[in-house]
């Protein structure tokens, strides 16, 4: 039977934990709001740009630009986007599980796989795993700006042109709603044609019409494509940032609730124990008085 004092300590400790999780939840909620606004305002631009690029790549000869050309090589790279901090539920675990699955799959298919990682959590994870980390970007989520995306975008295009890898995929958490994050794997390089509704909408007409370019096609691709990768990288980072805060908020909300339940349970037990002790003392006194008669 635990002593009353140890129970009191236990209650106090859980209460403290609850205060912390509650505070973290509130902080995450505030940050989520900001992150959510950013991703919502960045999405239209990224989607439009993707549409334009996809449209364009459909109308041009794929061989005409190195970033569109499919290469026979067997080197696959996965860009893993996780958070810098923990305490956000299954957020990172989901990504890392999917990443490992992906890498195993591609290795079994006889491809060489490497990773580049964004976020401290995945860096720590992959340092203890057999895959080569080609590049790491820790701490980008502290103060996320377009500069980071620029950096990542330039690096991947540069490495791709150098032949460091022949295909590049990205795995990240998409922000679906506050309660839901979705793990997404997308191919970034070489550029895949869009097959979703955004190109289908223009219908067969768009595939027939030949494009006019100004200035010429090559110059246009030269400016459009790098831009596209930077913007996509930025979108992925923003998605992940918003999803992270949402996941943390949900996790901390759960933790606060669990702490509340625990407090209730222990308090009930504490009161029962206290009552039992009082009853016992009373019986002793009554017994003593009875004996004196």
């Amino acid at each position: 039977m635990p002593s009353l004092q140890s129970l009191r300590r236990k209650i106090a400790s859980v209460k403290n934990t609850q205060k912390i999780t509650k505070a973290m939840k509130m902080v995450a909620a505030a940050k989520l709001k900001r992150a959510q606004n950013r991703i919502f305002s960045a999405r239209p631009y990224a989607h439009k740009l993707r549409e334009v690029v996809a449209n364009l790549s459909e109308h041009t000869d794929r061989m005409s630009h190195p970033l569109l050309r499919k290469r026979p090589g067997k080197k696959t790279e996965l860009l893993v986007v996780t958070s810098d901090r923990g305490l956000c539920g299954a957020f990172n675990a989901n990504i890392l599980r999917r990443a490992v699955e992906f890498l195993n799959e591609h290795q079994q298919a006889g491809e060489e796989a490497s990773v580049s990682v964004v976020g401290r959590k995945s860096i720590d994870f992959f340092r203890r795993r057999p895959w080569t980390i080609r590049q790491e970007w820790p701490g980008v989520f502290d103060r996320l700006s377009f500069e980071h995306a620029l950096d990542i975008g330039q690096d991947i295009v540069h490495q791709y042109n150098n032949g460091t890898f022949d295909r590049l995929f990205v795995v990240y958490n998409e922000f679906k709603s506050v309660m839901q994050q979705r793990v997404v794997v997308e191919q970034l390089l070489p550029l895949e044609a869009l097959d979703d509704e955004s190109t289908a909408q223009d219908g067969p007409a768009s595939s027939k019409g030949a494009y006019l370019y100004e200035p010429d096609e090559h110059q246009l691709l030269e400016t459009l494509l790098p831009k596209h990768f930077q913007v996509q990288a930025f979108r992925v980072l923003l998605e992940s940032a918003a999803a992270e805060q949402a996941a943390r908020m949900t996790a901390m909300d759960g933790a606060t609730r669990n702490a509340g339940e625990l407090i209730q349970k222990v308090t009930l037990f504490y009161n029962k124990t206290r009552q039992a002790a009082i009853t016992k003392e009373l019986m002793d006194i009554v017994g003593g008085a009875e004996a004196l008669k």
Binding site: S41, P44, Y45, K48, V52, Y211, L212, E214, L220
Partner: protein, 148 residues
């Protein structure tokens, strides 16, 4: 995607202006003219497929009797028979521009340019002067319209 869900209207162009910050405009219009790198171009419904880069300039569109102006700094324009997509680095509607501030920016840019300095500084000053003049021009258009 919510941004592409607008239905087509016959005889109209869907004009969409997007910047990295937001979807600035999504409207059915009759005519658009935009500043391409190799010269301004006008678009009417049924235009052929056309893709171009944009320079610093004025975007102008007409819907019925109303004319609207907008400043656009760099970016891309994607034109299809029913739709014009402007992907601008920076874009502002005329009514969002503060004329006095635009005026002050022009003056400041002019001073910077006069002062001279390194070639890169001069280049920068030229660009900011161009930007400032454009914003002033676009803003003044609206004022004139208001008076007329």
């Amino acid at each position: 995607m919510a941004t592409t869900s607008k239905s087509e209207q016959p005889g109209k162009l869907l004009l969409e202006v997007v910047t990295p910050d937001k979807l600035l405009l999504s409207e059915h219009v009759d005519q658009v003219s935009a500043p391409g790198t190799d010269g301004d171009f006008g678009v009417l419904p049924g235009h052929c497929y056309f893709l171009t880069t944009l320079r610093i300039g004025e975007l102008h569109y007409r819907s019925g009797e109303t004319e609207q102006y907008m400043s656009v700094l760099w970016g891309f324009a994607d034109v299809t028979p029913h739709k014009v997509t402007i992907l601008a680095e920076v874009a502002e509607k005329a009514e969002d521009i503060d004329v006095e501030r635009a005026q002050a920016a022009v003056a400041q840019a002019e001073r910077h340019l006069e002062r001279g300095g390194l070639p890169s500084d001069v280049e920068e000053a030229k660009v900011s002067l161009e930007k400032a003049r454009l914003r002033r021009k676009v803003a003044e258009r609206l004022q004139k319209q208001g008076r007329a």
